[in-house]
């Protein structure tokens, strides 16, 4: 397969899709009437590019001059504006230039794939389909794959494998119906929320309070999500439903309220125009008031009745049914109509319940799919409730639920196979070979992941295995923080591994990889004046790091999500790492007033020394990263910063991480890789370099950028990184670095300002500058 792809159209979606192909290390030819300006991408937040330098793989092209490159591209993704005549023009333009193998796919969200295919010459139609990405395409996992009637099945399989493994996407196959799956039900959810909020007189701020994390949906809830999507874009999507779904019983609801139309007309389109339903005014964020037709301050409401919905949905639901609180009525009504709508349309839009839930999870960021939630609330109970409400004329439409709903007890089997109404069977995960790499795949319904075979378990960690001879260490703490029990568990697991296993992998069932050391525990020890125990804690931390590095069996870190502080130090000490693209790693200790003391500073000094040349130059970026508590914005950045080796594998699909880690472990076993022997000295940049860093620190202080306490912390970091007590070029034993880490750690921890920083982080989640 060639390394080239073409993206047609460099609008919001086209440019970002192009960027993600660049992340995946493809040469991307971006066609547009106005050639792509790659610096545009640097302004989009969150960043579409994993490293700014990847912009170099985006090659701006014009339809006049560069079409001949298309024959070398294995895939062409069309993302031009959603107008049939514009797309037709582009298709006519490019058709003669496509290579005999080139797959052409449209990223349309609203037009019919069959209609679009008809614009192409017959020979090309069998290589045409829809691939529908969600904004932002790097971060939202869903891609809907929509076959055209002509496409060869093997090409769809090829594309599914590619999108899954290379781009890291969750592929859901959709039928060619308006707005496909995710937008069809997701947008209906918004429309029903608008409908019921208006009816019950619930303010938009309160709606967002209810429909966000409380229900396991993104924090941006309903209206902030609408602002992010763009009110005009949403209007377009709704308009498509209005135009193309004329016989849908809910058709009369397919329009956005008058007040949204007014906002659109006034240019309040959301994030892209800097104003929308939400409006930033000074430091305050105002929200639109529908009745007053103006923006006002947000007024929080009590949502106590909904608390605990995610953990005990049945209980909350039953209480809501009994309540007269408009918030309770709102929740019941919106979920009832969403269930009604989704069940009614399931057979026409998707193969089974699982595909609908996968789509809403991956495209809208919901933790629970629609059918999953329904199952949790009681399938038959809710079905009967909808019937009752329908007969009382409370549902948005009068049409009955489809027959199949009452014919099943659950929408999922115990193993997570989803119900397929057309064939009246349950269908499980795809047999596509790409999913063989997902050893612990996404689970649906009440299905539980494979827990393998447990080898050791204590309060802090579990050592288990899926493959004989290779252990997996997973933390049991919240946010996978590292406390005393985790350290002790690791010591035990590593001892077991060295005598019983061939390799061991650090992997977590859920992100983050680790939010760092257990600050609550540390604070308690400090408050109780248990300095000896604190010393033991940091000592044990360093011992675990060293054991990870020098263990006689290979240690492999499999990292996804946050890997902060001590978590980052463990990754640095493992003999090998595999990283998911979305790895946010960093030594952030300075933010809570301490320095990396789990061997992190030692390891940075070691790497600068091993690199050779000007050791001070090698250490300067590390100093900046540590002293500014920098966290990487992608796995590529982790590699660039030297927290892992340059050749470290970066995995795009998070579910392939465990598989990849096992393959790396197997390779290390097969090649008989020996650990690095401990105790070789580190060459330091020395006291002059320490002076140069100290000069930078003093200037920052003079300029008011950092506080007195920052000077203290940064100087400690500089001292360890440069080996600042010794002349340049001195060979300093590793134990000096570890000793200094411990000394500074305990010294800083005993200061009031560091303790305040920790308390502040624990209570607010944000760093304190003092």
């Amino acid at each position: 397969m060639s390394q080239k792809v073409a993206i047609l159209g460099s609008g919001v979606m086209g440019a970002q899709i192009a960027a993600h192909f660049a992340n995946a290390q493809y040469e991307v030819y971006v066609f547009d009437i106005n050639p792509l300006n790659p610096t545009l991408l640097s302004k989009i937040n969150p960043a579409p590019l994993a490293l700014p330098s990847f912009a170099a793989s985006l090659i701006p092209c014009s339809y006049q001059q560069n079409l001949s490159i298309l024959k070398e591209c294995f895939l062409v993704v069309e993302a031009v504006s959603e107008k049939m005549d514009v797309k037709n023009q582009v298709y006519q333009n490019i058709s003669p230039y496509l290579g005999p193998q080139t797959i052409i796919a449209s990223n349309t969200s609203g037009l019919s794939i069959t209609d679009l295919g008809q614009l192409l010459p017959e020979t090309l139609r069998q290589r045409f389909c829809g691939v529908h990405f969600f904004n932002p395409p790097r971060y939202l996992p869903l891609v809907e794959l929509i076959p055209s009637p002509w496409i060869a099945p093997f090409l769809l399989d090829e594309l599914e494998g590619f999108l899954t493994s290379r781009l890291g996407k969750n592929v859901v196959r959709a039928f060619d119906t308006p707005n496909f799956i995710a937008n069809r039900v997701g947008v209906f959810s918004i429309l029903s929320i608008l409908h019921h909020a208006e009816k019950l007189g619930i303010g938009l701020d309160v709606v967002d309070q209810i429909t966000g994390s409380l229900l396991g949906r993104p924090k941006s809830a309903t209206f902030r999500t609408m602002d992010v999507v763009g009110l005009d874009t949403l209007n377009h999507v709704v308009h498509t439903m209005d135009e193309r779904l004329t016989s849908d019983p809910w058709h009369k609801y397919y329009h956005l309220s008058e007040w949204i139309q007014e906002l659109i007309q006034k240019g309040f389109l959301g994030q892209k125009t800097g104003k929308g339903i939400y409006l930033k005014s000074g430091k305050e964020i105002l929200i639109y008031d529908v009745a007053q037709k103006t923006h006002r301050a947000q007024v929080p409401a009590s949502t106590a009745i909904l608390e605990g919905f995610l953990s005990q949905p049945q209980k909350v639901w039953d209480e809501c049914l009994k309540s007269k609180d408009p918030i309770a009525l709102f929740l019941v009504a919106t979920l009832r109509d969403l269930f009604h709508y989704t069940a009614f349309h399931l057979e026409s839009i998707a193969l089974n319940t699982r595909d609908v839930d996968a789509a809403i999870r991956g495209g809208f960021g919901w933790k629970l799919g629609i059918f999953e939630l329904w199952q949790k609330l009681g399938w038959q109970k809710i079905a009967h409730f909808i019937e009752e409400e329908r007969q009382k004329d409370k549902t948005m439409v009068k049409d009955p639920l489809p027959q199949w709903v009452l014919s099943i007890d659950q929408p999922y089997t115990a193993t997570g196979a989803g119900y397929c109404p057309s064939q009246k069977i349950f269908i499980g995960a795809s047999l596509h070979p790409v999913y063989k790499k997902q050893w612990i795949p996404e689970m649906f319904g009440s299905a539980k992941p494979d827990t393998g075979h447990t080898l050791r378990e204590n309060a802090g960690v579990k050592l288990w295995c899926l493959q004989e001879g290779i252990g997996i260490i997973s933390f049991k703490s919240k946010m996978n923080v590292i406390g005393l029990e985790v350290l002790e568990g690791l010591m035990d697991a590593l001892s077991y591994a060295e005598s019983h296993l061939n390799a061991v992998i650090l992997w977590q069932h859920q992100e983050p990889f680790s939010a760092g050391a257990n600050l609550i525990q540390a604070m308690e020890l400090v408050k109780q004046g248990k300095i000896n125990e604190m010393e033991r804690f940091v000592d044990l931390f360093q011992t675990v790091s060293l054991r990870l590095k020098h263990s006689s069996v290979p240690t492999v870190a499999a990292v996804s999500g946050l890997a902060l502080g001590g978590g980052c130090e463990f990754v640095m000490h493992c003999q090998k790492a595999v990283l998911h693209l979305e790895t946010y790693q960093g030594l952030v200790e300075v933010g809570v007033g301490i320095l990396p003391a789990g061997g992190g500073c030692k390891e940075l000094a070691r790497r600068a020394s091993d690199k050779g040349g000007d050791i001070f130059k090698n250490i300067q970026e590390s100093f900046m990263n540590v002293s500014m508590a920098q966290v990487s914005k992608s796995a590529f950045e982790v590699r660039k910063w030297g927290y892992v080796k340059e050749e470290t594998a970066i995995i795009f699909h998070p579910k392939e991480l465990l598989y990849a880690a096992h393959m790396e472990a197997q390779a290390l076993i097969a090649t008989g890789k020996r650990p690095i022997l401990p105790n070789s000295p580190i060459t330091v940049s020395g006291e002059g370099a320490y002076g140069a860093v100290k000069a930078q620190i003093l200037n920052m202080k003079e300029g008011g950028f950092i506080s007195e306490h920052d000077v203290k912390i940064a100087s400690a970091v500089a001292m360890v990184l440069t080996g600042g007590e010794f002349p340049e070029g001195a060979q300093v034993p590793e134990k000096w670095f570890l000793q200094k880490e411990r000394e500074f750690f305990l010294e800083l921890l005993s200061t009031e300002k560091t303790q305040k920083r920790m308390e502040h982080m624990l209570s607010t989640g944000k760093p304190l500058r003092n």
Partner: protein, 385 residues
């Protein structure tokens, strides 16, 4: 004591560091170019040159190994013509001129060359290998303060407002833009051949690259402080980082007569003084009275003042404290607009001053500047045409 006469004075255009036309040009090449151009019209003088003294603030890397000697050889001066390098940071070029003039005044030399060179593109401000001894922090930590911080200290101590600094900076640009024609007599254009993977690129640089036509008070006022969170010193009211070189030819009366040369100016005197490193920008406040006293001149006698604009804050503090007539200060713009190639600046300002005296038929010119780690220098020239 004999008189020391400047008979020729040339400089390169001042290039923008890292982005400008000289960004890949070695400091030795910049220097050789001005040394060669200096004697182009009088090649018969070359064998009689008795020394080449060159100022350079970061004499290492491309400008290390005694660039005074290397530049002279690359300019085609014969092996018997010696050369050396002097470093007094930002006044290195003026210091070189003063030493050369003194050699003549003492009667030790008849004909001598002085100059300055700096490529800030190639050698960063603190050098390639910045290190500080623990002793510095023990005894005098102010030594490590960045120039920007010292400029903030001066702004604070002498109450120089952000608005005044920005206004001063805008004027510098406007004056420099208006001076393009006048600068033609002192600039020796330089052609640069750069080999790129796409082939050889040939560019001739004949104008200073620093002055900006798009500078406005509004755009300057919107810049964020560069060195201090709540400060007033910005990239817009500080001197620019630059590349450039300059050279002057100095001789005694005997040599004037022997070769039938027409002098441009006479060197009258030079002073240097130390100030606290944390407010290095006020150096000229001490140096100016000192040089006036030595030369027996009064401030009002001086017609033309080249005050190096390291920062607007320190320039304004100096103007106000010494009582300089603003209309006489940097009539053709200063380093905020034109750029400040550290060790070359003193020589460049000397070139500009002596050309201005001649062109505008004025009598006395002063070149003065502040110096990193806390010093000030000033030199006075008198027109003789």
């Amino acid at each position: 004591m004999q008189d020391a006469y400047i008979v020729n004075a040339v400089r390169t255009p001042i290039g923008k560091a890292h982005r400008g036309g000289f960004r890949n040009t070695s400091s030795t090449d910049l220097l050789a170019h001005v040394l060669e151009s200096l004697v182009k019209s009088h090649p018969e003088l070359i064998p009689s040159i008795e020394d080449v003294i060159v100022g350079c603030a970061m004499p290492e890397g491309e400008q290390g190994m005694n660039i005074g000697r290397i530049g002279s050889l690359l300019a085609g001066y014969p092996d018997h013509v010696p050369g050396f390098t002097v470093n007094r940071l930002c006044s290195s070029g003026l210091q070189a001129v003063a030493i050369a003039a003194d050699r003549v005044r003492l009667g030790e030399c008849d004909l001598i060359v002085a100059g300055g060179v700096e490529s800030m593109s190639l050698i960063p401000m603190v050098g390639n290998h910045p290190r500080f001894s623990p002793l510095v922090f023990e005894k005098k930590p102010e030594i490590v303060l960045g120039m920007g911080i010292t400029a903030e200290n001066v702004a604070h101590k002498y109450n120089v407002s952000r608005e005044d600094q920005d206004k001063f900076s805008l004027e510098s640009h406007l004056k420099a833009l208006a001076a393009k024609e006048e600068f033609k007599s002192e600039i020796v254009p330089m052609t640069i051949n750069t080999r790129t993977p796409a082939g050889i690129q040939q560019v001739t640089i004949s104008e200073d690259e620093g002055p900006r036509k798009d500078s406005t008070l509004e755009s300057l006022s919107q810049l964020k402080p560069a060195f201090s969170l709540k400060g007033s010193v910005t990239a817009g009211n500080s001197s620019q980082m630059s590349d450039g070189a300059a050279a002057v030819l100095i001789c005694n009366e005997k040599t004037l007569k022997k070769y039938n040369l027409t002098p441009m100016a006479r060197f009258l005197g030079f002073s240097i003084a130390g100030v606290p490193p944390a407010i290095m920008g006020i150096g000229p406040i001490l140096a100016i009275p000192k040089v006036l006293e030595r030369t027996g001149l009064k401030l009002q006698d001086i017609d033309w003042i080249e005050l190096n604009e390291a920062f607007a804050s320190q320039s304004l503090a100096v103007i106000r404290e010494v009582g300089l007539d603003p209309s006489k200060v940097n009539p053709l713009g200063g380093a905020i607009a034109l750029g400040h190639p550290l060790g070359a600046t003193g020589a460049i300002k000397t070139v500009t001053a002596v050309h201005a005296l001649k062109r505008r038929q004025q009598r006395y010119a002063m070149v003065t500047m502040c110096i990193g780690v806390g010093m000030g220098a000033a030199g006075i020239f008198e027109s003789v045409s």
